[in-house]
């Protein structure tokens, strides 16, 4: 199975290793991520204004590229996933946006939301299957108590993202079980870490991260994993060293026994 892959800015630059982990794990699990040629940054946040078109075009380009290849589009970063999935929904359901975006794009055939947008975790859950993943784990993270940190973008708005129950998700917990560790469920796992606000309102973000980490440690977590590079940055920056935060692909690669391989590259 081959997927169109949208890596996004952070995983392509600051966090390249996380991207490598994802690709090499995919290979081991029997699917391939084919990077979209000349992808452009999704913009990081979904423009809520219904009259904004230009800021949605980068996503439309990526989506159309996947459509032309007849592939589903996979993202790794929660933010990219959020933006692209919502723009896709607009292209499918909002006449005005679809018409205007297509007018700009001048494609061979108008793009009307045909591409299916998947998060890497969804591929693991729905295509590979967590049971199957579990069988392929060579280096289970037995004994580790891991808190899943979802943040906002993966889950909300629940109706549009249709990813998991937005108030009581379980996909990352299932993932944690599949790689042999024990999930720790804590109530702040879908509360905001502060997002982009950490740039100018560091204290606000710090307070939010503190609540998240306190809740997670309180319920017994000894590490957190997340699917969003910005969440990872905020949590890492604000928590000191007592509760390490990992990107899920890193633990995936580790469980599949591939982490060293990447390091050596």
């Amino acid at each position: 199975m081959k997927y169109s892959y949208f890596p996004g800015c952070t995983l392509k630059n600051k966090a390249q290793d996380l991207d490598h982990y994802a690709r090499i794990s995919a290979e081991a699990l029997g699917f391939e991520l084919e990077e979209i040629s000349e992808w452009q940054c999704c913009g990081g946040v979904y423009p809520l204004g219904t009259d904004e078109i230009a800021t949605k075009l980068a996503s439309v380009r990526a989506l159309n590229d996947a459509k032309e290849k007849g592939q589903e589009l996979v993202t790794l970063c929660s933010a990219c996933h959020h933006v692209i999935k919502r723009v896709n929904d607009d292209m499918k359901n909002v006449d005005d946006i679809r018409t205007r975006a297509n007018n700009y794009m001048e494609l061979d055939a108008p793009y009307e939301g045909e591409t299916n947008v998947l998060h890497y975790l969804e591929v693991l859950r729905d295509v590979v299957g967590f049971d199957e993943l579990k069988k392929k784990v060579t280096n289970p993270l037995t004994g580790k108590k891991i808190g899943a940190y979802y943040g906002c973008l993966l889950l909300r708005p629940g109706k549009l993202m249709s990813f998991d129950d937005p108030e009581n998700p379980k996909i990352i917990e299932d993932f944690i079980r599949a790689i042999g560790a024990e999930p720790v469920i804590y109530p702040y796992r879908n509360e905001c870490c502060g997002g982009y606000i950490s740039l100018k309102e560091e204290d606000l973000s710090k307070e939010m991260c503190r609540k998240i980490e306190e809740s997670a440690s309180g319920f017994g977590a000894d590490m957190l994993i997340t699917a969003c590079p910005l969440c990872m940055y905020n949590l890492n920056k604000n928590n000191g060293d007592n509760l390490p935060v990992y990107y899920f692909t890193e633990l995936l690669a580790e469980a599949l026994g591939l982490k060293e391989e990447v390091k050596e590259q």
Partner: protein, 662 residues
């Protein structure tokens, strides 16, 4: 040629403010067949009807057009008026210039123009009207009540008291319904079972009442006065005649792990069970999905311990077919599932419960023996938080658009009972509005605040956050104080929205009774016929029609009973004369019409006809007027157009089309 009179109603200003009634009246006189036209303030009034009477007599009218409100409102009124003046009532047509015109248009010129066109269409139709005579049909003097909660019980008792036999069909093993699960009732705080149990006994013992518990309606055929209903009596696996209700079987049953429906899954029951101690009938059923005997073939303990030899593993479902003249729906409600509201952590913490679960916890026969305690650790709570409107008043698909109506009052009741019994427990209620219309209701709520010190906070809760130490952190808003609050609680109670029993959709379909977008049964008129379904012979009792509390339910149950009694008291009903009719000379006898007739009203016979001198025996469709309900499905199926519908004939509808498109 008809002699038609046109009567234009002002309906006060309801019509006259937007439609130039004088102009409409004047335009009427230009239409073919119209010999009289006049307008009046209120056509439906005595004086208005008198005008009609006079005109019919003086101008020898053969047909009437009344331009007024919807025919669903006053068609019968004007037909009766016509009949009184010696005119066949089916020579009356209504032009609906109120609901379909004056009320929805603002521009006078536009509305007047449309009113004239609607009038023309009605005139065109009257021109082709023919006098019709209704037939008669019999009334089976027996009523069926679907649902054995307080609504069904009260309706059945009232009908039975009037001397008519009545059957109750109840899906669960016992009658009693939701009310039997309640601990106390507002606004008097009397014990629910103390007032319900005697009624259950009374209805059970009434000679005119026959109760089918653990039974469901399987199919409904027929129409008002003459319904044929199939009832599936599910296999109880216990002989109702032999069982003495001693209860030993339930005690000895080794399968005790099934969540108790009665206690909302807070504890478990045995595989052979009566839902609760006061169950009527006091005869257990075997839950075959849970029973070891049915699952593995080995066990049979209940059979061994039963002194009366009442256990019968070989029982099968039984279908009972019965005729009824009237059917009352009293299917009640359930609480919505809370899986879409997990911000309140209902599925994450045992100490977040629904109000109905709290009723069971507070009840002496409940899972905790009536002690208020946390289900997680059995500890007594010190801080209780109630959250109102969970799933009610929602504009999105997560919840219900309506107000569930009973939550404000029962929450005040819960708060008061807790403060009364456990004065050291603090109670906080997060509310959006406190709604207390009802006799002694607001006084009741104020007592909760003033005498019992319940802390009411205006604002909704955003999230319930379980803490590592087992406490619950409630993050809410206090809109009056403009603050975000974090409140620690030991238990959180959710006032979940109520919704009609999910089975009602299936039942409504069987009854062809209409249902609204929320699955509440629709009443024939919101104000004037609130307990009748638009489908004749079907009556509504209790929450199946809309949210209501016990006193309202009981009142409506009585009202539904009276309507049913009114029907059963008649010996004959007049049938709708707008039935299908087949033209013998055109009929091909092809049987297509019989294929689509939902009532089996069409049969075929070989008949000699004289077709312009040619005498031959032909196979012809014959419509049974008593069975035909006048839908018209056959008329369109018939390729030759031999089949036509009286009162809505092909030519009449085409004439209306022509008049509108003129």
């Amino acid at each position: 040629m008809q002699r038609i009179g046109v009567f234009v109603c002002h309906c006060g200003t309801n019509i006259a403010a937007t439609v130039d009634v004088k102009k409409v009246t004047e335009m009427a006189l230009h239409e073919p067949g119209v010999v009289h036209a006049e307008d009046y303030q209120y056509m439906c009034s005595e004086a208005g009807q008198e005008l009609i009477h006079k005109a019919i007599k003086e101008k020898h009218l053969t047909g009437l057009v009344v331009c007024s409100c919807s025919p669903r409102m006053h068609e019968t009124t004007f037909r009766n008026a016509a009949e009184k003046a010696g005119l066949n009532p089916y020579m009356v047509e209504i032009a609906n210039i109120r609901e379909h015109c004056s009320w929805i248009h603002k521009d006078i010129e536009e509305a007047t123009e449309k009113a004239v066109i609607l009038m023309r269409a009605a005139i065109a139709k009257v021109n082709l009207d023919a006098p019709l005579k209704p037939g008669e049909s019999k009334v089976t003097k027996r009523a069926l009540v679907i649902g054995g909660g307080i609504a069904g019980i009260q309706t059945a008792l009232d009908i039975a008291e009037a001397g008519y036999p009545v059957d109750i069909v109840e899906k669960t093993p016992s009658i009693g319904g939701r009310m039997s699960q309640l601990d106390k009732t507002f606004p008097t705080l009397d014990c629910s079972s103390c007032i319900l149990t005697p009624k259950m006994g009374e209805v059970n013992a009434h000679p005119n009442v026959n109760i089918y518990t653990y039974s469901e309606v399987e199919s409904v055929a027929g129409f008002v006065g003459d319904f044929t209903v199939e009832i599936r009596k599910k296999a109880r696996s216990v002989d109702m005649d032999k069982c003495t209700g001693c209860g030993v079987c339930q005690e000895k049953c080794p399968s005790k792990k099934t969540p108790s429906e009665f206690n909302r899954g807070l504890d478990t029951r045995s595989a052979i069970y009566t839902p609760f101690a006061q169950a009527v009938p006091n005869v257990p059923v075997i839950d075959r999905d849970a029973c070891i005997k049915f699952k593995t073939g080995k066990c049979g303990v209940c059979s061994k311990v039963c002194q009366a030899g009442a256990i019968d593993y070989d029982q099968v479902d039984e279908i009972i077919t019965e005729k009824y003249g009237a059917i009352v729906v009293a299917t009640g409600f359930d609480m919505i599932k809370l899986d879409k509201y997990d911000e309140y952590a209902y599925s994450q913490s045992k100490d977040v419960i629904t109000s109905l679960e709290l009723e069971r916890i507070m009840n002496a026969a409940g899972p905790t023996g009536g002690h208020l305690e946390r289900l997680s650790d059995g500890k007594a709570p010190k801080e209780m938080v109630f959250i109102q409107c969970v799933g009610s008043r929602c504009a999105d698909e997560r919840g219900k658009s309506y107000c569930s109506k009973v939550c404000c009052m029962y929450t005040a009741k819960h708060a008061m009972l807790i403060r009364d019994k456990y004065p050291d427990v603090n109670v906080t209620v997060f509310y959006i509005d406190v709604r207390t219309p009802g006799k002694n209701f607001d006084e009741f709520y104020r007592r909760a605040v003033e005498e019992y010190g319940v802390n009411y906070i205006k604002g909704q809760v955003g999230k319930v956050i379980p803490q590592p130490d087992g406490k619950l952190l409630v993050q809410g808003a206090d809109l009056l104080d403009n603050k975000q609050i974090l409140k620690e609680a030991d238990m959180v109670v959710l006032a979940a929205a109520i919704e009609p029993n999910p089975d009602v959709r299936k039942i409504a379909t069987m009854l062809t009774a209409s249902i609204d977008t929320n699955n509440f049964l629709t009443e024939a008129h919101a104000k004037l016929r609130p307990v009748e379904s638009p489908t004749a012979g079907i009556f509504l009792s209790g929450v199946c029609q809309g949210p209501k509390d016990i006193p309202e339910t009981v009142s409506q149950a009585g009202a539904a009973a009276v309507k049913a009694i009114g029907l059963l008291a008649k010996d004959k009903l007049l049938t709708n004369p707008c039935t299908a009719h087949s033209d013998e000379l055109m009929c091909n006898g092809c049987s297509q019409c019989a294929n689509v007739c939902p009532y089996g009203a069409i049969s075929y016979e070989d008949k000699e006809v004289n077709d312009h001198g040619v005498r031959e025996v032909r196979r012809l469709a014959v419509v049974n007027d008593a069975l035909c309900q006048g839908c018209g499905a056959c008329t369109v199926t018939c390729p030759s157009g031999a089949m036509d519908l009286q009162g809505f004939s092909n030519r009449q509808i085409l004439a209306e089309v022509d008049a509108i498109c003129r």
